[in-house]
Symmetry: C2
Subunit: 322 residues, 2 copies
């Protein structure tokens, strides 16, 4: 049986080395250099087996998602990701599982040029907590508190796919066979919108990633910015697979508005920058859609068929839903 | 029942504000300023209920220890602590427990002038993972890899008290009634040696905190520095309470050499700086003891009654001991 030291040595000492890591894993702490005239961006996200992902999720998907949701927080801040620490609690030290987890984590880290700089492995029920670090030039962080009335509200990608996959896994609906792999990929392998986040530094007045649910996340922005929002249900981008599998509004509406887990970005663009922004994202082949606008009246309103629909304002709440 | 947002708002939004925290809890990530000409020091430590502390440990003690062991990593690097993130997994959201945990965490944070800048609360078996951040002036971090032959080996405080308290809790020995509170304090409330760590920047060639056990931690230093060490058992500082409770070498030796959990510092001082160092620590009323010296011959040797004793080289290994 590998010991704790050997687990870190064998599975979590990857070979990437960044110039700004003076000392990585293997001491009491890492020694790191934040570039001049930049601010450090840091956040933590934890995934618990059975709560944030089905117990039977593969080691590869667990590793991918644990890091991807943290990268998504960097994207939402307009940050360039740099380093992360990993605290992993394992109920047993299955070497096949660890190897698969480690390879998947390492591969995603390599893709985004980020380095694992600290780790702690402990014994207990499966739980992965990652603290991620990135940089922004001074004053360039995207936050939730600067959206202004008349700003246009955008989302990236499509909304609701991850929630649909989760609903199917929970037995709330059946998926067509040909959609299963696409939708599970959206749930298990959300693509962090880092490139879009970096681009938004020059355009957006606010930004958030959609983890709790579209409406709940827009509410985080409107409450922090002391404004309100109106969104148009028909404008919310849905995937072909989503539309292919669902026809009942009673399921469509909550999945789209409150589903969460998409890890797309939701952001606001001032009207004066909209034309230029639309051109730039098109040039960069990034998919974004304008779904509404910020208003001075507090609250979030959703219009469907020219009528305001009742919004369930609940996002994903670990302690109420589980 | 409080929701996740409310738990963070109610229990983990303390009032300390540091000037270097541009944006704290409440966005996708924190925005932070590392002072010019300083390096960032970062590490992560997780405590799992039933593994790192007895399940019946009070919320106050759990909070204290979770932060203190992380502060100890900053001390071992010679870093000035600044910020931390908290990932806490709770099996239920007992408000009395949360309130006690939060107050204890906040009180220790205030004592060391550090700010909680990110949090994630999840539902599951009790587990606390903290990532801590601090600074050192460029090139001043204390590491494990620069100890040199002839350097003197020191430890702070006394060794073995925490291990004795744990052994008693595990039923391996009985404590005298009048020692229980002193020893449990040593186990549950280790004092992070921040002041000593800062002072060591100008004197020590290497430093580590004693968490895995004295010999195991010295081995981390000797292996990283490609040297060896000789320590003298009789020189290792033991508390009055330790000596008062134990007379049997069969228990004393493993507790002192392999017990761990003391969170004292173990460090090396070049002979040329020893006199000045001894004077400075005395002036600062910091308790340190020279227990041996670094040698070029690899391995760690422990001398007792002029004879080399057999060293169990195992530290505290979560996956082998539990």
């Amino acid at each position: 049986m590998p010991t704790e030291f050997n687990i870190i040595r064998q599975y979590f000492t990857f070979n990437e080395t960044r110039d700004d890591v003076v000392l990585g894993i293997g001491d009491d702490a890492a020694v790191l250099i934040v570039p001049e005239h930049h601010q450090l961006i840091q956040s933590v996200d934890t995934l618990v087996a059975g709560v944030h992902f089905p117990i039977e999720t593969s080691a590869e998907d667990v590793a991918y998602k644990a890091l991807a949701v943290n990268l998504s927080d960097m994207a939402a801040m307009g940050a360039e990701p740099a380093w992360f620490t990993l605290a992993i609690t394992l109920s047993d030290n299955n070497e096949v599982w660890l190897e698969a987890f480690s390879e998947s984590l390492s591969s995603l880290a390599k893709k985004y040029n980020i380095q694992l700089i600290g780790g702690d492995t402990t014994n207990g029920p499966l739980c992965i907590s990652i603290t991620i670090n990135g940089f922004v030039p001074e004053g360039k962080a995207l936050t939730r508190n600067k959206a202004q009335a008349t700003d246009k509200i955008y989302v990236s990608g499509t909304i609701g796919d991850a929630a649909l996959a989760l609903a199917a896994w929970q037995g709330q609906c059946l998926l067509r066979k040909e959609s299963i792999s696409y939708l599970n990929e959206k749930l298990n392998r959300p693509k962090p919108q880092i490139e879009l986040g970096l681009l938004l530094r020059d355009y957006a007045t606010s930004c958030i990633d959609i983890s709790d649910g579209l409406v709940a996340d827009i509410m985080h922005v409107t409450e922090n910015s002391q404004v309100g929002a109106k969104i148009y249900f028909e404008k919310i981008p849905l995937s072909k697979e989503f539309n292919f599998n669902l026809t009942d509004d009673a399921l469509i509406i909550p999945l789209v508005l409150s589903g969460g887990d998409d890890y797309q970005l939701c952001f606001t663009i001032p009207v004066t920058k909209q034309t230029e922004f639309d051109k730039v994202v098109k040039e960069n082949k990034i998919s974004v859609t304008c779904i509404g606008e910020i208003e001075s009246q507090p609250g979030v309103r959703c219009i469907k068929n020219n009528k305001e629909i009742d919004i369930q304002d609940a996002g994903y709440e670990h302690f109420t839903n589980d």
